[in-house]
């Protein structure tokens, strides 16, 4: 690989759980501002990969670097987040008892120290930024709602908004379209595409219609390593992909 401005690079990463190789000698490089979609059959290691990047688990072998020289494997979850890596979970995880406004407020970029939370109050600039985020995710009129009262799709957007509020360099989004209606899915796709460029984004997704909508580069994971990489069409016509992924899917249907 030539030396480019990678925002994220995984080199020779392996991780096994009780002998099962969830990630096996994985190599993955991402350019700054890129929107990358990752697909793969169940158990391909997609979520484990996100766990490794965000510090939830540590790899057995390999390097995970953020930017040019930050080694992520030595850091824990909140330290990695503070570097500018935000993660959206598969099931929407928002603070159900807080208002939508407060959900964004707690996510806003800024000091995370305990003392600061005791003695700081909301500044006008922060308030403005919160409303900006709410406009982006289309929840302005629900600012005072409890997050628990939102519809499923709106919760997903709120969580994406919480990531945006952190102003991360890299967003990791795990199955954002799961459980959404077609219309909501399309809207989510638009939202993600509008964010690419300013942020680098990794999206894990199953829904191929959605993948086709947003993807420029698709990476296919299989048994913990990269099977192939390319445009949606290239990937869908790749014989090995058809064999392990689409072929298997057909089988499962019976």
């Amino acid at each position: 690989m030539t030396q480019k401005n990678f925002i994220l690079s995984l080199e020779g990463v392996s991780k096994s759980f009780d002998g099962f190789k969830a990630i096996n000698d994985l190599n993955l490089y991402m350019d700054e501002g890129e929107l990358r979609v990752i697909i793969g059959p169940n158990g391909a290691g997609k979520s484990t990969m996100l766990d490794l990047i965000t510090g939830r688990t540590q790899p057995d072998r390999g390097r995970i670097e953020f930017g040019r020289d930050t080694d992520l494997t030595a850091l824990n979850e909140y330290q990695i987040n503070r570097l500018g890596i935000g993660r959206k979970f598969q099931t929407p995880s928002v603070y159900v008892d807080h208002t939508v406004f407060e959900n964004i407020w707690l996510s806003l970029r800024g000091s995370r120290s305990l003392w600061n939370t005791l003695f700081s109050s909301l500044t006008p600039a922060q308030r403005e930024r919160i409303h900006e985020v709410l406009t982006t995710i289309g929840l302005t009129d629900k600012a005072d709602w409890k997050a628990g009262a939102l519809a499923h799709g709106q919760k997903q957007w709120l969580e994406i908004g919480m990531l945006l509020a952190q102003d991360p360099k890299l967003l990791l989004v795990d199955e954002p379209a799961a459980g959404m209606t077609d219309e909501e899915t399309a809207k989510t796709g638009e939202l993600l595409m509008s964010l690419a460029g300013r942020h680098s984004i990794i999206v894990i997704e199953h829904d191929m219609v959605f993948v086709r909508q947003i993807a420029r580069t698709v990476t296919v994971l299989h048994q913990g390593s990269v099977l192939c990489e390319g445009t949606v069409d290239e990937v869908q016509n790749n014989e090995r992909v058809i064999e392990v992924y689409l072929g298997r899917k057909k089988k499962e249907k019976h």
């Binding site: 965000t54 979850e77 909140y78 987040n81 503070r82 935000g86 993660r87 979970f89 995880s93 928002v94 603070y95 159900v96 008892d97 807080h98 407060e102 407020w105 707690l106 996510s107 995370r112 305990l114 600061n116 939370t117 005791l118 003695f119 700081s120 109050s121 909301l122 969580e159 919480m162 952190q166």
Partner: protein, 389 residues
């Protein structure tokens, strides 16, 4: 964004504080003993005890109701606070004890005079407790340190939920067994008792008891206001966020372990302050105060009163202990069953406790009305159908 003080709660707190801090002490001090309105010094002492329990309950609630950490060992900190002040009170007995020696009776009985001959029978760590100031500082410092060390280890290892509950229960049980031992220098199973003076005042005089009662009321009010402030800050928002979705908080860049540790230490200090005022009013502190079932009771008070509310734990603690004083007279043997049933009932049918009851009743009433309205309309529809037929 600080939340405004709800008007209704302001009134309720104001009225309760007025009754507790002014009315009851006045009824005790100025109303003649034979009057129906007189509050006996014994009763006042009993109420003072309830107020200390209410302080403990506020601490439990700060942990469980607001942060989602169910500690089953909060009475350890309550008892430790009590022991620290109790040590000072023991030394203030002077030579008025049974054995008329300068050291506490149990030390004479356990032959500390030969064991610790160099210091006249007093174990080394007892000596500084001659100073009230030192003892008062230790009331806060010792429980805070214990909470800090235990909490640090537990939260760093990400021990959560039921595992944390079990560990905290084991901690208080272990401490309880340790304090039961005579050679642990805290009076073994008898604990510390027979106190005579506090700051030179006779502990048996009605005036001292009244002042202690008022102090308990002031402490409760202070802790209440502190909790009110804390839960209204951004910190309070994060506390509840940890309760509802800890991973989200962690992956948003907050070191959740630090936040949990802070709350755990604060709750321990609150419990200890309650315990320190409990001891001079009750006149005894012994290891049974840190037995696991005591901490369980405190959790029941909070559940019954309404966890995650500020006023609920106070109502629960005072209410249940008042009920207990009555029930242990009338149905001593059945009390544990009554308490258990109460807990089960509240958990199943009143998730928000006493505080949530009004809202529940309103909802129930609305549902009932809707149903009767629905029945009326369906009955009317049925009539139309039958008339058409």
């Amino acid at each position: 964004m600080t939340r405004p003080f709800p008007q209704r709660e302001l009134w309720l707190v104001g009225i309760l504080a007025f009754i507790g801090l002014v009315v009851l002490p006045c009824l005790n001090a100025f109303v003649p003993v034979d009057s129906a309105f007189h509050v006996s010094t014994f009763k006042l002492g009993l109420y003072g005890k309830y107020l200390c329990y209410a302080v403990l309950a506020l601490g439990v609630n700060l942990l469980w109701g607001y942060t989602g950490i169910l500690s089953l060992g909060q009475c350890l900190f309550f008892a430790l606070g009590g022991y620290m002040l109790g040590m000072h009170l023991m030394l203030m007995i002077g030579n008025l004890g049974q054995y008329q020696k300068d050291i506490p009776d149990f030390m004479v009985f356990l032959e500390y005079e030969t064991k610790y001959a160099a210091t006249g029978g007093l174990p080394l760590h007892w000596i500084p407790f001659k100073s009230f100031g030192f003892a008062a500082a230790m009331v806060v410092i010792v429980p805070a340190l214990v909470a800090l060390v235990f909490g640090f280890l537990a939260f760093r290892s990400r021990i959560k939920g039921v595992y944390f509950s079990i560990l905290s229960q084991a901690l208080t049980y272990a401490a309880c067994l340790m304090f039961f031992r005579n050679d642990f220098t805290f009076g073994g199973n008898n604990g510390l008792t027979d106190f005579k003076f506090i700051l030179g005042h006779d502990l048996n005089s009605p005036t001292t008891k009244r002042v202690l009662f008022i102090c308990s009321g002031l402490l409760l009010l202070g802790v209440y206001l502190f909790c009110r402030w804390l839960t209204a800050t951004k910190f309070g928002l994060i506390q509840r966020a940890v309760r509802d979705s800890e991973n989200r908080v962690l992956f948003s860049g907050y070191a959740t372990a630090h936040f949990k540790l802070f709350v755990f230490v604060v709750a321990a200090i609150i419990a200890a302050l309650g315990g320190a005022l409990f001891v001079p009013q009750v006149g005894i502190i012994n290891p049974s105060e840190m037995a696991p079932e005591k901490s369980l009771e405190a959790v029941v008070w909070v559940a019954v009163g309404g966890r995650g509310t500020l006023i609920g734990p106070i109502l629960g603690a005072v209410g249940i202990n008042w009920l207990k004083s009555y029930a242990t007279h009338a149905y001593a043997e059945q009390w544990p069953y009554i308490l258990g049933l109460l807990f089960v009932f509240v958990t199943l049918f009143m998730p928000k406790g006493i505080v949530g009851l009004p809202a529940q009743l309103v909802a129930l009433k609305r549902r009932f009305f809707d149903r009767s309205k629905n029945e009326a309309t369906s009955a009317a529809a049925g009539k139309i159908k039958s008339s058409q037929a």
